[in-house]
Symmetry: C2
Subunit: 457 residues, 2 copies
């Protein structure tokens, strides 16, 4: 049985037991399930108003540690609902059990009054740590880092460092990468647990550590953090403040989550959809509407240029209405080829495969590929031109196809570079924007060629 | 200075030193650079035919271990060029130094004669391991897994297991997750190094290990492996054969690379571009042409339906040529809204946010959102209708807009589900395909409404 099937069965069984309030089955099933899976099941259940009390009851029956883990997998809205169902005392224990980055996220969801109340009941150190972590702007390294790392002071021996690792093991997010700090808390070096384990117990960490540590400034964009972790195959990357003081680490799993959500955002941007704050099946309808409508309406006006082109050539069209037959085909083909070219550039720039310096080389390549594409598509459309309007029309249509596809592809290819040069996000060169621009140009190209050839003939 | 700036400076300095054959600077710079960065610089240099000897000379001057590391970061073509410049003896040492998954990839690039020669000079164990790893189909768990993991037999004590970890540390891909196997090599459990470190030295691993281990069958698709690693925040996931024998692990960094390239593939598919075997700036032109042309030509024929719709309504158009003014605008808007809806579903399905069971709920949501979008866009276009053709034309255009946007969005939303149901990849519902379908439907909707209203008036 595949992993997915096992999972699905476990989920269905849990859901059934929950809805039937079958406590024996629940007690048997729950310990077998992973927190990520319980989180997903609860997320589904939370959608129906009447199931919320069941969810809360289930969560509140779990041991504190498990509850904290599951909570970390729930979306914001549900986290808030759960938090509101708990007393301050329970809430404090849960917060204590959570990893410091998830703790800060949950804390930021609460109302100001509750935040104040909870802070007042925390120990000083814990309070300061939470306040600091909760203060970083969303989308930066600070907002995704954790403060649960193993710091080793300069001058410690290997055996003492090992002892420190053993002590920190239950709380640290990772104990496999150690960070060596000087007496002012500045990052001085790093050492993997692997290196520590094979070192002589009496050696000093100073002599073993790697001094040239890749580090991230706390205000760096989160997608850059993900790129660095991926590029250097890191288990975790240290985060420093303006004074080079070590203030946190971002672990590989959080970097992977960021990479995933950034990819989703880029895919949506490619269709002129703004960044959604949640999955498409869960985001509020009003928000989904807003994120889609802006560009759609802007492009309605962009499309007026196509209309204007058509109005300009109204006489040509009236004289030979058969020309309209090929209009959607020609501008559609140009739009498709152009959207392909733009998408290839935008994604290449996002992954680092394409740089601004490659522009000239890529232009040459696109010229060759788009020229071949245009010729192929002209060959495909020419026989239809002969059938519908004779050889002259076929010539007009084939010529238009080559020029529109070539022009559209070059436009689509160059637009991301132009936007980047202007300081805009290259991903603004979305398929809808590119096709709208090409539609208008295509209309002009097609009818210009048509009136030139057909009126002279 | 930011990480990126430091990197860029180091790269420029290295590039200059290389081209000027300034060996002192090279000797100073090289040890400071990370293998990933040297790999990138070499990748750039390799592009110019005349720089290839310089690259090879640089690589061949590096210590074997470094050379093996850098080689792992080069694209296939360059790996092959380097491999061909090395004697069999050097090649053997390099292969030995590489991690087992990269070794298998490089090995698969070589010609059959060379493979045979190299295999014959390897030790038995090494040869069998390489042959096995090189035999798995690309795109599966087997092709991305490594055989350098720490296996601990059942019945071992904690202190002995620690000793085993220390011995394996230099070679294993990760020593932080240990896999416990029975006497037939079957995966019996797992234990993190962290757990091992805080355990009583005399305890048995059997009593400490987690028995319910998430495992991946060797023929599982690589994107599923990446999803599992991301979902459960794993450092590595074990891979088993049909007999549940442990045969490898996939580490978090390789899973992240897979997730990244799968996202790129999905983005390209969204524009009807087939999977590229390399980055857009490096893939051969012929391959780029082929991957783009197939759907473009298919969609030329798809666009004939729009033409047929126009031909059918030729009289309506001839009677009122002004209607053509709004044609690109209406079908373009429908296409944009539909492509948005399709993209939201396809990405949701890829990340697991959207399941087939959500179809009904999502249809209801799309109905509401698309209805609102259509109304908004109709409001935007109506005044232009009044200006260009009077109130009656405005009514035709506004009504068409609502219906085309609503229809297009629902079509775009449902198509991925339909494709999935038919056993196709939902990502086939690309923007070009969706807009082509909506273009044809839009033509019919628009001119039907126009002829109904304008002829009756």
């Amino acid at each position: 049985m595949s992993l997915n099937e096992t999972l699905r069965e476990q989920r269905d069984a849990l859901r059934a037991a929950l809805q039937e309030e079958d406590h024996d089955t629940l007690d048997r099933l729950l310990p077998q399930l992973r927190s990520a899976d319980i989180g997903e099941i609860l997320e589904d259940l939370f959608e129906k108003e009447e199931d919320i009390p069941v969810c809360l009851a289930l969560l509140n029956a779990m041991p504190i540690e498990r509850r904290a883990n599951v909570l970390g997998y729930l979306p914001r809205e549900e986290q808030l609902a759960v938090a509101e169902s708990m007393s301050d005392g329970v809430m404090l224990s849960i917060l204590e059990e959570m990893s410091s980055d998830e703790r800060a996220d949950l804390f930021n969801l609460l109302g100001e009054d509750r935040r104040e109340l909870l802070l007042r009941r925390m120990a000083h150190q814990e309070r300061e740590d939470l306040k600091l972590l909760a203060s970083y702007e969303e989308g930066t390294a600070g907002a995704i880092m954790t403060s649960d790392y193993v710091a080793i002071p300069l001058g410690m021996t290997v055996s003492k460092a090992m002892m420190r690792v053993r002590q920190t093991a239950p709380d640290a997010e990772t104990v496999y990468q150690l960070y060596i700090i000087d007496h002012e808390g500045r990052l001085a070096g790093t050492l993997s647990l692997r290196q520590l384990m094979v070192a002589r117990p009496g050696a000093m960490v100073d002599d073993l550590m790697i001094r040239d540590v890749i580090r991230i400034p706390v205000d760096e964009a989160q997608e850059e953090v993900a790129r660095v972790v991926a590029r250097y195959d890191m288990l975790a990357v240290p985060v420093v403040d303006a004074d080079e003081k070590l203030i946190g680490i971002v672990t590989h799993d959080d970097a992977m989550d960021v990479a995933q959500s950034e990819a989703t955002e880029d895919i949506h941007k490619g269709m002129s959809i703004g960044a959604l704050e949640d999955g498409v099946s869960r985001v509020p309808l009003w928000s989904l509407y807003r994120k889609r409508v802006i560009w759609l309406v802007l492009l309605v006006f962009g499309n007026l240029f196509s209309g204007a082109g058509i109005a300009f050539f109204e006489e040509t069209i009236a004289a030979q209405v058969a020309l309209v037959f090929f209009l959607p085909l020609l501008i559609g083909s140009g739009g498709n080829a152009g959207a392909q070219a733009a998408t290839l550039m935008v994604r290449g720039m996002a992954t680092g495969d394409v740089g601004v310096k490659d522009w000239g080389k890529l232009l040459g390549r696109e010229l060759l590929v788009a020229g071949s594409l245009g010729l192929t598509m002209a060959l495909a459309v020419a026989p239809i031109g002969v059938m519908r309007g004779g050889e002259l029309v076929a010539m007009v249509v084939a010529m238009s196809m080559v020029i529109i596809v070539l022009f559209g592809s070059l436009l689509g290819m160059c637009l991301p570079f132009l936007l980047d040069h202007l300081g805009w996000d290259p991903a603004t060169a979305s398929a809808p924007l590119v096709t709208t621009l090409i539609d208008a140009s295509g209309v002009v190209i097609y009818f210009s060629i048509a009136s030139a050839i057909l009126t002279s003939a």
